[in-house]
């Protein structure tokens, strides 16, 4: 039963009830984004407000600098709104970085 099932699966290979077979980690939501948050590291004071407010846990902290996980960030812009030093800009996805 544990062997990998062919995808997309047929109904017999789905769990009972309306249950998912994958963790939500496997559902990448970054493609939903229309604007991406870009952090100006020279302005960032590492207060972590963006990390605190991000509804998708998409703000990362590696011990030195703040970054965004673009695989999950949906581009809601809450981080940019909450940043006390305006270090985060929402850039349209249609523009190159």
């Amino acid at each position: 039963m544990a062997e990998a099932k062919k995808e997309p699966r047929g109904w017999k290979d789905l769990p009972l009830s309306a249950l998912p077979y994958k963790l939500s980690l496997e559902y990448k939501t970054g493609s939903w984004r229309a604007f991406r948050p870009v952090i100006d590291q020279s302005k960032c004071i590492k207060c972590m407000n963006c990390w605190l407010y991000c509804p998708d846990f998409a703000v990362l902290w590696d011990g030195e600098r703040v970054s965004v996980n673009y695989e999950y960030c949906k581009g809601c812009g809450i981080c940019a709104h909450e940043c006390p030093v305006n270090a985060i800009t929402m850039v349209p996805e249609t523009k190159k970085a």
Binding site: M1, A2, K5, P8, R9, G10, W11, L14, P15, L16, S17, A18, L19, P20, Y21, K22, L23, S24
Partner: protein, 419 residues
């Protein structure tokens, strides 16, 4: 009731009590060791939860009683309770059932074995508190098992059976027990209940979660319930990629439900000496009948009474009561009525712009046959309009005329309405 075999619990060991239909359902829920009841009062269902709340207040049950602010919340609360592994029960009628509608689909597609008692009542407007089946027919496509009872005794028996049917590992679907508002809900009848511990035994004690499934990310088979040790998300997003596939097991489970309803009906017979036809249909005199009337709910008694008189007068008539409405027992119904010349299909509801709901099902059941009886749909008793034997007799007389003429001039008749 059928005689013959001695039941495991003979009548003298059963508890005889005078109760109305609602109280019978409340006692059945009490005897069924329900863990959670969430409900909102609405006529003619109110007595069910009123009586049950007395059991709670008197400490006679272990049940968590949730007095919610609406029926939408009642169904939502029992969905949560059932997902956590509880045996959950609620009851409603009419507008209350209409307000539950959104969550009814969620309960069934999450495969939660909830039991819902519906004291059937007309839908507004105008406001009407009396019996018809419009409320229940509004949920016929919601992937629930729907049973219609004929009397108070059956209301008690069927409510207990409903838990067994719902929790069967091959079914795992919610079950609605329909009893006619006022006609059954408020009418005192002398019935036999089982000693409580016998019901416990019949249901195997408290609910055990019977649904098990393999979940890839956990790498094992787990019980289908909310459990922090094995976290599951119930019903997250599914688009065109998987939604269709997720509906198939529901279809299969409903197919199984019919057999389980029959089996539980037989188990109940062995235990109590009571059974209701084969569980899905309850036929009277259909074998050699030229004219058969099909009917749901308490009106079956009146129709049978008139049919007996007609038999005495030499008219070959039969009555088919449909006990299981969803899943619809197509095969059983077709076999029971296919030999007749004319079939009158009684519906206490109307699919406006179409026919009565059971007429549509019965038409579908007969269509595949080479030779089939003529069908006439009688919509009757809307808003609690009384259905006396004289009216039923008039219907039979019309059906006799259809048989003589050999054709149906008016396929949809409104029985007992004033011009």
């Amino acid at each position: 009731m059928s005689g013959g075999k001695v039941p495991k619990i003979p009548l003298e060991k059963q508890v005889r009590m005078a109760v109305n239909g609602d109280e019978a359902v409340a006692y059945a829920a009490k005897h069924s060791l329900v863990d959670v009841v969430a409900a909102y009062p609405i006529t003619p269902q109110t007595i069910i939860v009123e009586k049950f709340s007395e059991f709670v207040a008197d400490g006679e049950v272990h049940t968590e009683f949730v007095p919610v602010e609406s029926e939408h919340s009642a169904m939502s609360a029992v969905v949560g309770a059932a997902a956590a592994g509880a045996r959950a029960f609620t009851a409603t009628a009419s507008q209350g059932l209409a307000l539950m509608w959104e969550i009814l689909y969620i309960a069934s597609s999450l495969r939660l074995p909830i039991v819902l008692a519906v004291a059937n009542r007309a839908l507004s407007a105008p406001i009407n508190i009396h019996c018809d089946h419009s409320d229940a027919m509004g949920m016929r496509d919601a992937s629930w098992v729907q049973l219609f009872v004929e009397n108070t005794q059956e209301a008690y028996d069927t409510t207990i059976q409903a838990f067994k049917i719902a929790e069967d590992p091959e079914v795992l679907l919610p079950v609605a027990v329909n009893l006619d508002g006022f006609v059954l809900s408020h009418t005192l009848e002398d019935i036999y209940m089982l000693p409580e511990e016998e019901v416990h035994k019949f249901l195997g004690g408290y609910r055990k979660v019977t649904g098990k499934t393999y979940v890839d990310y956990l790498g094992k088979e787990v019980e289908v319930k909310l459990d922090p040790a094995n976290p599951l998300s119930f019903g997250p997003l599914d688009l065109y990629d998987y939604y269709f596939e997720h509906k198939v097991p529901q279809i299969k489970a409903l197919e199984k439900a019919k057999e389980v309803v029959k089996r539980v009906n037989e188990e109940w017979y062995e235990l109590t000496g009571r059974r209701y036809g084969d569980g899905v249909i309850d036929a009277w005199g259909v074998e050699d009948a030229d004219i058969i009337v099909t009917v749901l709910g308490s009106t079956a008694g009146t129709v049978r009474h008139v049919a007996r008189q007609l038999r005495k007068e030499g008219v070959k008539v039969g009555v088919l009561r449909i006990r299981l409405y969803r899943p619809f027992p197509f095969e059983e119904v077709a076999n029971a009525i296919k030999g007749a010349k004319v079939v009158g299909v009684m519906d206490r509801a109307l699919s406006f712009g179409s026919f009565g709901p059971s007429y549509l099902d019965i038409s579908a059941a007969l269509y595949g046959l080479k030779e089939r009886p003529l069908l006439v749909n009688y919509v009757y008793g809307l808003g609690g309009r009384d259905v006396p034997p004289s009216l039923v007799r008039r219907m039979f007389e019309e059906l006799i005329k259809v048989k003589e003429e050999g054709e149906v001039k008016e396929p949809l008749k409104l029985l007992g309405v004033r011009e």
